[in-house]
């Protein structure tokens, strides 16, 4: 997030898109509810009538994958009506003219035709967001223009044009000057406890800790020196989905999985399974025997987050310290101890000459000291400083108070760059054989691949089994009733589950969460069209058909 969670409650307008906030980030949902109760406008742009719509003042229900037209039209209307923040554009940004030319063709009328959203709603959303209008009550701020913030999640990014979508939201915020101030910004809500931190510390194919590029020879040299390594690989590595393809081609022979369940979380499960089965070595390090673990050659038992110390970084870039609450079961140990022991043994097998204690650390805190030394954005952090409320990066020096809001006086690159974006449609469109659009996500009571929450008694009581949300109109077409068994097919595979007839989804769209191993949604999703830059799969749109097994 460019901004902090607790600022949301003071926003005048909150634009939520591609985020089922009340179910996937409930506590951020509470911030939105607080703001709404005080009279803030809440605009939701989403294909599904998600629970947060109950608190919305404006709901733009787009056909899946067509929201890009709506955003481009919103910006078209803002420019046309003179609602843009000219001063901000002049002082803080560049590339506006090219961008302006690019949105010229995307009129609200065109967007309405593509997305199914009425023109008036698009224009109202443009005005309310741009001017930071309130529905009622007084602003917490004295500005002439109210404060608008954007919240988004995987509904925006898990798309074959995910990068374009994110840049579009950044364009929108810059166009109205809604960035660099409290209660504004472009705020991705990250889905897992430490997904932010895992990125920050370099668990990505193209960057070392602190987002230093692996192709930058200077960064490689400096880091090799800090790590006392002979050299570091300079080629960008394979992302998860690419690695699965490489594995099925025999190029990747070993996969070491720490706390992940690709059999449930990666697109096109059948392909993933084939790839994993073909490996010479699959190591799964986890807390539960996941469906991926069943294909492993070796399973290593790890301690859970409740049994560990260490730090994690939340969606607002806040680094916070964990305390062990429980003892780990049996001989399970924290992941860092496993890695450290494995690394030392691999060195021995490969006859590498390194200090005997090269991979030895006394504690998580000792690792953090090294991490902070080579990760500039964490440079000023240490465990003593992180106790209590933690610190938000960038925090480069020990006297730096942390950064609750990014881009206050300037953007990290200097001037904010407008990126001209053209609309792109999802890679797989519904057709005669597969007439419905499947979109995937989470439900309130479960989390990711369900390995934890489905083993929680109260949560499993409330939501014991999977279901597919389907509109009454589509259900009737195949004579399905609520609770009926249903077969869902895509070009990749088949899933059996139950139908939940619901007006949360519009006709033509169905929703299946990916928590249910007995109805694994990713058997259906496609892995052929990744976003060209982020390499993210298009989980949010694929074509399926539903069949009634009784028919």
């Amino acid at each position: 997030m460019t901004n902090s969670i607790r600022e949301i409650r003071d926003a005048d307008c909150i634009l939520i898109t591609g985020s089922n906030t009340a179910e996937s980030h409930p506590v951020i949902g509470y911030e939105v509810v607080r703001a709404a109760r005080r009279g803030a406008h809440v605009i939701i742009i989403d294909p599904r009538r998600i629970p947060m719509v109950d608190h919305a003042t404006l709901f733009l229900q787009v056909k899946p994958g067509t929201d890009i037209y709506v955003f481009l039209a919103i910006m078209h209307a803002i420019i046309r009506e003179g609602w843009a923040d000219e001063a901000f554009i002049a002082e803080r940004t560049e590339g506006f003219d090219d961008f302006k030319a690019a949105v010229e063709q995307y009129t609200p009328e065109y967007a309405s035709l593509m997305s199914g959203v009425p023109v008036e709603q698009i224009e109202a959303a443009a005005r309310i967001y741009a001017l930071g209008e309130r529905d009622a009550g007084d602003s917490s701020y004295d500005d002439a223009r109210g404060r608008s913030t954007i919240l988004y999640a995987m509904g925006i990014t898990q798309r074959s044009n995910g990068t374009d979508m994110v840049m579009t939201l950044a364009n929108l915020a810059m166009l109205c000057g809604h960035i660099g101030k409290r209660s504004t910004g472009v705020n991705p809500l990250r889905g897992q406890s430490n997904v932010q931190g895992a990125c920050d510390v370099g668990c990505l194919v193209n960057v070392f800790p602190g987002y230093q590029s692996v192709t930058d020879a200077g960064a490689r040299e400096a880091l090799a020196q800090a790590w006392a390594a002979d050299g570091l690989p300079g080629n960008v590595g394979l992302t998860i989905v690419e690695a699965m393809h490489a594995a099925s081609e025999g190029k990747v022979r070993a996969v070491y999985v720490m706390g992940e369940n690709p059999m449930m979380s990666d697109p096109n499960t059948t392909h993933v399974e084939r790839a994993l089965r073909g490996l010479d070595l699959l190591v799964v390090q986890d807390i539960f025997p996941s469906d991926t673990a069943y294909l492993a050659h070796v399973i290593l038992p790890a301690a859970a987050a409740l049994e560990k110390d260490g730090t994690i970084t939340n969606t607002e870039r806040r680094v916070q310290v964990l305390q062990p609450v429980l003892a780990a079961p049996g001989t399970a140990i924290p992941d860092w101890q496993i890695i450290s022991q494995l690394a030392a043994r691999l060195d021995a097998k490969m006859a590498r000459e390194r200090d005997a204690d090269y991979w030895h650390y006394d504690s998580a805190s000792a690792i953090f000291t090294e991490l902070a030394r080579v990760t500039p954005i964490y440079g000023g952090m240490n465990y003593n400083r992180l106790r209590g409320e933690g610190l938000q990066w960038p925090c480069r020096t020990v006297d730096h108070p942390g950064t609750p809001i990014l881009h206050v006086d300037k953007f990290s690159r200097g001037r904010g760059k407008f990126h001209p974006i053209a609309a792109h449609d999802p890679a797989e469109q519904p057709d005669e054989d597969y007439p419905l659009v499947l979109t995937t996500g989470r439900v309130l009571y479960h989390y990711h691949t369900g390995t934890m929450t489905r083993r929680s008694e109260p949560l499993a009581w409330r939501e014991p089994r999977g279901y597919i949300e389907i509109n009454a109109e589509d259900a009737e077409r195949v004579s399905l009733e609520d609770g009926h068994a249903v077969v869902v097919k895509s070009r990749r595979g088949t899933v059996r589950t139950r139908a939940k007839i619901s007006d949360r989804v519009p006709p033509g769209t169905v929703f299946l969460a990916f928590h249910w191993r007995e109805a694994a949604a990713n058997i259906l999703t496609q892995d052929f069209a990744l976003d060209p830059i982020a390499k993210i799969p298009e989980y949010k749109v694929c074509a399926v058909r539903v069949e009634n097994p009784r028919a």
């Binding site: 990250r190 692996v214 190029k251």
Partner: protein, 387 residues
């Protein structure tokens, strides 16, 4: 950096002899709390709207004949406020006395004892029992879900739960229904929670000052003062809520929001507050394991075995011991290191892929990528950021 706006003109007030300046709009309660003066209260909660129902927070303002509730009274220029006096103590004692007349005084067996706000004030005002005719008018007991129990006899109708549900959570599951002695906190038609719009976040339980709303998980598990408390960060989504776990004999009895200043304050979602019991599931992996065919090839077992063709996803209740044998750390780690070394030497560094985890710590992910880059020698290191 700016902050939510205040008027430039501050107000001067005096509370219990302390001269302070406050922003216009600040209530007497808030002004007192800011200088750590605790005014007794039951229905007031800093995160919720003002109810003004319990009247326990009355204070005296110089120049005014009657005491006023401090929670709803905005400070005015020149106000001189007293939060303690004989008159106020009398008034407050009478309020607590009346509440106790409609509340079971079974503190000796009550699990909220030690943390109950009514008990705290009864103690402070020296009330062992009520001076009025005792009659508990609400008797409904609802244990219709595995999250929390609603035991209405302990309810003092402060409405904190209703306000939390409406103002913070937005679930609007409960309301105060009925009048007079029949009034109580209810779902529509007193139905079970699951038929309401409740999202089982337990925010109502957290703000309840008495034992009217209690977590199921702690029933019979011990008293407040026996609990050890550990604060950590929730392991589910990326919000990073601070959670305080109460433990008895090393086992979690319940979880709650940890403090006002954290990301989440008092409030959590259903997964954070109630979804921690997976950690002690009998399914947990406790020892390293080697797949039976690999173990057979290594001579660790005499029984030959083959990985079934069927996808694990198609097995309804798979059992890990059917496919794996347990082993010790040395055997498992040596096996992995051997095989990795072979693969790197025969197929190159980039034949190895590492999947790190968004559920592990920064330290672990840091070490993982360092292992992949320095130990194995590849940038094939990714995690579920995109998934």
């Amino acid at each position: 950096m700016d902050s939510p706006s205040g008027e430039p003109h501050m107000l001067n007030i005096v509370i219990d002899g302390h001269a302070i300046q406050v922003q216009p709009g600040t209530t007497i309660m808030e002004a007192a709390r800011a200088i750590r003066i605790e005014i007794p209260h039951l229905c007031y909660h800093p995160e919720l709207s003002i109810s003004g129902g319990c009247r326990l927070c009355v204070v005296e303002i110089e120049g005014r004949a009657d005491p006023v509730p401090s929670c709803g009274q905005a400070c005015q220029e020149g106000m001189v406020i007293r939060t303690q006096s004989e008159q106020l103590t009398e008034l407050r004692r009478e309020i607590v006395d009346l509440l106790m007349a409609d509340h079971p005084l079974d503190c000796v067996i009550c699990e909220k004892a030690g943390k109950c706000q009514l008990q705290k004030y009864a103690y402070e005002y020296g009330l062992a029992k009520t001076s009025h005719k005792a009659h508990v008018s609400r008797t409904l007991y609802q244990d219709d879900n595995p999250f929390f129990i609603r035991d209405h006899k302990y309810c003092i109708l402060c409405s904190r739960c209703v306000r939390a549900c409406w103002e913070i959570v937005g679930a609007n599951a409960i309301e105060i229904f009925g009048r007079g002695f029949t009034s109580h906190v209810a779902t529509p038609f007193d139905g079970p929670m699951i038929d309401s719009t409740c999202v089982f976040c337990g925010s109502c339980v957290q703000v309840c000052p008495t034992a009217a709303l209690m977590p199921v998980s702690r029933a019979g598990k011990g008293r407040e003062w026996e609990m050890q408390r550990v604060e950590t960060i929730c392991g589910y989504c990326g919000v990073g809520c601070k959670i305080e776990y109460a433990l008895k004999d090393g086992a979690i009895t319940y979880a709650q929001g940890a403090r006002e200043e954290s990301v989440n304050g008092d409030f959590l979602c259903t997964k954070g507050r109630y979804g921690w019991d997976f950690a002690t599931s009998p399914d947990r992996l406790t020892r390293p394991m080697i797949r039976r065919d690999v173990a057979y090839a290594l001579g660790l077992t005499d029984e030959p075995w083959q990985l079934p063709e069927t996808s694990p996803l198609e097995v309804r209740k798979p059992k890990i011991s059917d496919s794996f044998i347990e082993t010790d750390w040395d055997t498992a780690l040596n096996l992995v290191a051997d095989k990795l070394a072979d693969i790197v030497q025969s197929h190159g560094h980039d034949a190895v892929m590492g999947l790190a985890s968004a559920r592990c710590t920064n330290e672990e992910n840091y070490l993982f990528q360092k292992f992949m880059r320095v130990g194995v020698g590849t940038n094939n290191v990714d995690h579920c950021a995109r998934l």
